[in-house]
């Protein structure tokens, strides 16, 4: 993961020092300066035809009108996400969405951006991957009138389940879905907070396809492009807000 070393600069050293939160200003102290966040991870190239697979690219290319522009909403969402270095292990820059959840406007904007995209697409199922997919999936499902199906780690769902195993860097893991929750003919959306290598999302897609659903798209708040999750999804489209 040599590409991640570009972030191990003096900004990260500052982030590691103790900060007092007594003022209640939770979001600002730990985040990286927001202009550096989207550009270091992803540059939206003007020479590439926009695929409109990131909301940021869509906003840049289509000048969407509305009470708050897409640019403004994406900007606020990006600023609300904080990066925690060396979690869960050294060298990893963890994208923490909990600070987004502390900003009711940014959290609402996040849900609205997904709902606007999917409300006229006849989605009948929103499948959310445990546990952070449970935070974004249900509000989207409720707004578009779809059922919500939790995809869980083994032994959490009671009753009959189907399982899909997937590879990790070392070893394998499994996710499960309830038998009967999804049927042939269901049009599904898969939601998680972030896509990294795409292993978990691929497993989720497989579970849905095994029961005859059509996976219309995967939707995440954050993409880590260097980890090539988008490629791993193959022909399944991916939509993200922040890349």
């Amino acid at each position: 993961m040599n590409s991640l070393k570009i972030f191990l600069n003096s900004d990260v050293v500052i982030l590691n020092s103790q900060r007092s939160f007594s003022s209640g200003n939770f979001v600002n102290p730990l985040k990286l300066p927001s202009p550096s966040f989207p550009t270091k991870y992803h540059s939206i190239s003007a020479s590439t035809p926009p695929l409109t697979t990131t909301a940021a690219a869509a906003a840049a290319s289509s000048h969407m009108a509305g009470p708050t522009s897409d640019d403004d909403r994406i900007s606020r969402i990006t600023s609300a996400i904080r990066v925690i270095p060396d979690f869960p292990k050294p060298g990893i820059l963890f994208q923490d969405i909990t600070t987004l959840l502390l900003d009711p406007v940014a959290f609402k904007d996040t849900i609205d951006l997904f709902v606007e995209r999917y409300k006229d697409k006849d989605i009948s199922v929103v499948a959310g991957v445990e546990a952070r997919g449970f935070i974004f999936g249900p509000p989207i499902a409720l707004a578009i009138g779809a059922k919500f199906v939790p995809m869980r780690k083994p032994n959490k769902l009671p009753g009959p389940v189907i399982s899909e195993e997937y590879s990790l860097e070392y070893g394998t893991d499994k996710i499960e879905m309830h038998v009967g929750a999804v049927q042939t003919g269901d049009r599904a959306l898969v939601i998680d907070d972030l896509i990294a290598t795409g292993g978990t999302l691929c497993a989720a897609i497989n579970l849905l396809e095994r029961v005859g659903a059509q996976v219309v798209e995967c939707a995440c708040v954050i993409e880590l492009p260097e980890l090539k999750g988008r490629d791993r999804l193959g022909d399944k489209p991916l939509f993200v807000l922040v890349s």
Binding site: F21, L101, E130, F134, I135, K147, F148, P158, G159
Partner: protein, 179 residues
């Protein structure tokens, strides 16, 4: 639609799985509620109607099934959402509260700085049994200076006396159905 009708439909949507996670336990499964968009919406609406004028500034949801209901309530009433998680899931600085189980103990964590003095908090989970987890949640919120206004659950298991346990800590319980 009248509350009684909505609650009746909610109760009918739940399913009970015997002997899960271990023999003798009748597990109250809310996933079938989530498969019925009208009933799921009614569940959230009932909580929102109750709390929207109560100046709630924080909705704290207990991992993981509290995450299924809490965020929608928070969004509708304009409150922040704070996840309360098992150990080592939350990145960055946390505060921890240990609580006793039938055999052994467990721990709940909350981010430092997420909640502050003056916050009025609602705790949300799918079900309350003995109330041990909810009491731990209440302690975390109070340690951070919040006032815990109420605990809201879809299901209460009365014979396990969670309501009484919460009452002894000064927190009222609101539950839509009893099992």
């Amino acid at each position: 639609m009248a509350s009684a009708d909505r609650i009746s439909a909610i109760k009918s949507s739940l399913r009970v799985i015997p002997n899960f996670p271990k023999p003798g336990i009748m597990f109250q499964d809310i996933t079938t509620l989530l498969l019925d968009p009208k009933v799921f919406k009614d569940t959230v609406d009932l909580f929102v109607e109750r709390y929207k004028n109560e100046n709630i500034s924080v909705v704290a949801g207990i991992e993981a099934r509290g995450f299924l209901f809490g965020p929608s309530i928070a969004l509708a009433i304009g409150a922040k959402f704070v996840p309360l998680r098992k150990p080592k899931k939350l990145p960055g600085e946390v505060i921890s509260e240990k609580y006793i189980l039938e055999y052994g103990s467990d721990c709940l964590e909350m981010h430092l700085g997420a909640v502050k003095s003056g916050d009025r908090a609602l705790i949300v989970d799918d079900l309350i049994a003995t109330g041990g987890t909810v009491c731990a949640a209440m302690n975390l919120l109070e340690r951070a200076g919040a006032e815990v206004v109420e605990c809201a659950c879809v299901i209460e298991v009365p014979k396990l006396k969670g309501r009484e346990r919460l009452k002894s800590c000064g927190v009222p319980l609101y539950a839509l159905v009893e099992s």
